[in-house]
């Protein structure tokens, strides 16, 4: 007989209930199944009303982030076998408003991401005829780690500071700002420093470090923020000692 495992899934149907409840589904246990496979099994065979986000099922799109047994995880990378014998608790990510079941609203993150201008900014754009902006492997290496971010928002869900101070711009947005600051083709590091030195920026972070631990792409947002603090403090010291020189 096929072994099974209990999946305790958080349900929230705003038209029916004012608070989330749990519903348990018995799903087949297969060694090669991840939590997302189990959720899809529920959706296909047991209960078509269950809502959750997913797309690539291979750790690239960053859509299927949820809390599995209390820790933020990509459900496409969370094997059932790691949580045996179960039951396996699946909940929506923390600190984001829940729209329905396991689906959270991500508008806040999208707004913050845009705020740090995560694109290459040049003071003077080079004419096309002069060709592309070249980069050495070493120059690529300085920011490559931060460019691996897939915007899955697990780091926000792991950050108690974001939970307590929702205005905090957050780990991924800062790591992505750093990704462009360190890119040899970009010239807007000052502009971003201004944005990130504001009240809701880097100084809100008190270095809990959980963002780095939960990151499925090893981006190390906590490291990015601490390095940014160093840059910010050095810049402040420079303007303090030599007013005008750092402009």
């Amino acid at each position: 007989m096929q072994p099974t495992v209990a999946l305790r899934v958080a349900r929230y149907r705003p038209e029916q209930e004012s608070e989330p409840t749990f519903q348990t589904y018995e799903v087949p246990f297969r060694k090669d199944w991840v939590v997302l496979d189990a959720l899809n099994y529920v959706k296909d065979k047991l209960d078509g009303s269950l809502s959750f986000r997913w797309s690539c099922r291979m750790g690239v799109c960053g859509s299927c982030g949820m809390k599995v047994n209390g820790s933020p995880k990509l459900t496409c990378a969370a094997f059932l076998s790691d949580s045996m014998p179960g039951p396996i608790r699946v909940e929506p990510m923390d600190y984001f408003p829940v729209v329905r079941d396991l689906v959270v609203d991500i508008t806040d993150f999208m707004r913050k991401l845009k705020k740090v201008k995560p694109w290459i900014i040049r003071e003077h754009e080079r004419p096309l005829a002069e060709g592309e902006y070249r980069q050495t492997p070493d120059e690529l290496d300085t920011y490559k780690q931060f460019s691996m971010c897939i915007n899955c928002m697990l780091c926000y869900s792991a950050c108690p500071i974001y939970g307590l101070e929702p205005s905090f711009i957050g780990p991924a947005a800062i790591a992505l700002a750093q990704r462009y600051n360190m890119d040899s083709r970009d010239e807007a590091a000052r502009e971003r420093l201004e944005i990130l030195s504001e009240h809701d920026g880097i100084w809100q972070c008190t270095f809990v470090g959980e963002c780095t631990k939960v990151c499925p792409k090893h981006v190390d947002p906590a490291g990015a923020i601490q390095r940014y603090k160093l840059t910010g403090a050095a810049h402040w010291l420079k303007t303090f000692l030599l007013p005008g020189a750092a402009r």
Partner: protein
């Protein structure tokens, strides 16, 4: 999406969970973090005692003897033992965090984290050894 239909920040039907006052007991990393934040009071206490010691030193031998006598009382012995443990805890966690803030690149390659941490510990050992040597030789 038309220009009129905008997402509102406070949707009446979205469920927002309030963060519990006990959030820091939910996992060990959070508890460790809060412990680090709270016990920084002891680091401040250590700094204050050091300043007090300097002041006593500046005021002459009598004042310094009085300072030492004060430190010998059970209250200060207890406080200083606790302070020592937490300052040690802060030193170790601080050294372990160092490679997060300081990224050293040599010939275009990033120096591994354990080297940065190791250098911090080495500096700590050397300085402690030097201080120990001076103090013990003096005694």
């Amino acid at each position: 999406m038309s220009a009129e239909s905008r997402y509102t920040l406070y949707h009446p039907r979205w469920y927002r969970r309030r963060v519990s006052v006990w959030w820091w007991l939910q996992n060990r990393a959070y508890t460790g973090f809060v412990l680090r934040e709270v016990t920084s009071v002891f680091v401040a206490f250590f700094a204050a005692v050091s300043l007090w010691q300097l002041r006593a030193l500046g005021q002459g031998a009598d004042a310094y003897a009085e300072f030492l006598a004060r430190l010998g009382t059970p209250l200060f012995l207890t406080l200083n033992t606790i302070t020592f443990l937490f300052v040690l805890f802060h030193s170790i966690t601080w050294f372990n965090l160092a490679p997060k803030a300081v990224v050293v690149r040599l010939k275009g390659k990033r120096v591994p984290d354990w080297v940065v941490v190791g250098l911090n510990y080495a500096a700590w050992l050397v300085l402690s050894g030097a201080v120990g040597f001076i103090v013990l030789r003096g005694g």
